[in-house]
């Protein structure tokens, strides 16, 4: 496929890629994506003390007024939690912090003492949203982590806004969470697949024409505590990093949010993931820790190497 005009820039402690079908549309698309990302960062970042979600976290136990964007992200997080039967739960915030991921990942110490006080997370069912009064309440002691869902939602919204601004089809990738909007290029949008989204020679790729594509990996954001390797995908039922059955799971879905939710839930579900993805008719590629691959729901078997 002919390489499309694209731009890259850092965002959310990771990297963004914006591509458009029409070269003339790239600059307005990039400007739009930057604006959307800034809005999401201000609303949903767990690493900014002035973000809306941190305001909710600080006021745990009471209703607190919140901006429309953090309410939208929280609402999506609750929907995703219900749709994954609690696998992807926004109340993992304290568990993630307890494991050591309490700051931008680049600043997380590579090693540290053993983690103590691990327990199941409180559960999304205890989070409340008051739509009419634009406020939210989480129980005392609960900490929200909207990270994954908010990033995917930002990709969906940024892609829609970018396509509108550019007047043509647009693709937005935020840290490997890909959303596309508008008429695709001939043959579709080519997306490489790798453990790490910054891999310049991924080897495998697929083409998508609409919706979203996300990959969850246990190999990238990992560190050690007490000699044990831990990673950022937390199983809400244990409060620990999910067992590593799969090193990466890539899922295509109608939106990037749904793709991200499914790929994250699949990592947590382990061996039960393929049947669940088949049931939902979600095309996916699951790579085991030994490198062997399981595909579901029409994911192409033959990918070029």
């Amino acid at each position: 496929m002919e390489e499309l005009p694209h731009a890259m820039f850092p965002v959310f402690g990771t990297g963004a890629v914006v591509a458009t079908v029409d070269p003339e549309g790239l600059d307005p698309a990039v400007a739009t994506v930057r604006r959307v990302c800034e809005e999401f960062d201000a609303a949903c970042s767990g690493f900014r003390t002035d973000s809306d979600v941190e305001k909710v976290n600080r006021c745990a136990g009471t209703w607190v007024a919140a901006g429309s964007l953090v309410l939208a992200a929280l609402s999506e997080a609750l929907r995703v939690a219900a749709a994954t039967d609690g696998d992807v739960d926004p109340t993992v915030g304290s568990a993630v912090h307890r494991l050591g991921y309490d700051r931008d990942f680049a600043a997380v110490p590579a090693d540290g003492p053993a983690v103590i006080g691990i327990e199941p997370v409180p559960g999304y069912a205890r989070v409340r949203i008051d739509r009419q009064r634009r406020r939210a309440r989480i129980p005392a002691g609960v900490r929200l982590d909207l990270g994954a869902t908010a990033k995917a939602l930002a990709a969906d919204r940024a892609a829609a806004a970018a396509a509108s601004a550019a007047g043509c089809g647009a693709l937005v990738s935020l840290g490997g969470d890909v959303a596309v909007e508008g008429p695709p290029p001939a043959g579709g949008w080519e997306v490489g697949l790798a453990d790490w989204h910054g891999d310049s020679a991924p080897g495998r790729s697929v083409r998508i024409r609409s919706g979203g594509l996300a990959t969850s990996s246990t190999t990238v954001r990992s560190w050690r505590r007490g000699g044990d390797r831990v990673h950022h995908i937390v199983d809400p039922r244990t409060g620990r990093s999910a067992l590593e059955v799969w090193r990466t799971v890539s899922v295509a879905a109608a939106t990037c949010v749904d793709a991200n939710a499914a790929s994250t839930a699949a990592v947590i579900r382990g061996e039960r993931a393929p049947a669940w993805l088949e049931e939902l008719e979600l095309p996916a590629m699951l790579v085991r820790t030994d490198g062997s691959i399981v595909r579901t729901a029409g994911w192409p078997a033959e990918v070029a190497a």
């Binding site: 694209h6 609750l78 949203i129 490489g192 996300a214 990238v220 039922r237 579900r269 939902l280």
Partner: protein, 108 residues
């Protein structure tokens, strides 16, 4: 002077009727007030659809039984409106690519 038994009976019936009407009106007012209070204190409640439970993978130990008024508010602000919709597949499945390109989906 002995009272007229019929007048006494009518008077008693009128008193009972007044008391019944007032009690009924009071109950209505109380029910309305309680409803308004509940609507204000327990907004946006949504019950999960039955179909979701059927699709579950054996239940979740982390989810406590719902107490009255503690279901999560799943209604989104305007523009989202996703409720508890399940994850949706793409319009069309991906097709094999040629292996390259600047856009990579991977862990971050």
């Amino acid at each position: 002077m002995a009272s007229d038994p019929i007048a006494t009976r009518d008077s008693g019936l009128r008193r009972v009727s007044r008391i019944t009407r007032r009690a009924f009106a009071g109950a209505l007012v109380l029910a309305g007030a309680l409803s308004a209070l509940a609507a204000r204190e327990l907004p946006g409640r949504t019950s999960p659809p039955v179909g979701h439970v059927a699709r579950s993978h054996g239940g979740s130990s982390l989810l406590p039984p719902s107490e009255p008024g503690t279901a999560p508010g799943l209604q989104a602000p305007s523009g989202q409106g996703t409720g508890s919709a399940p994850l949706q597949p793409p319009v069309s499945a991906p097709v094999a690519g040629s292996g390259g390109g600047p856009i990579v989906s991977g862990g971050s």
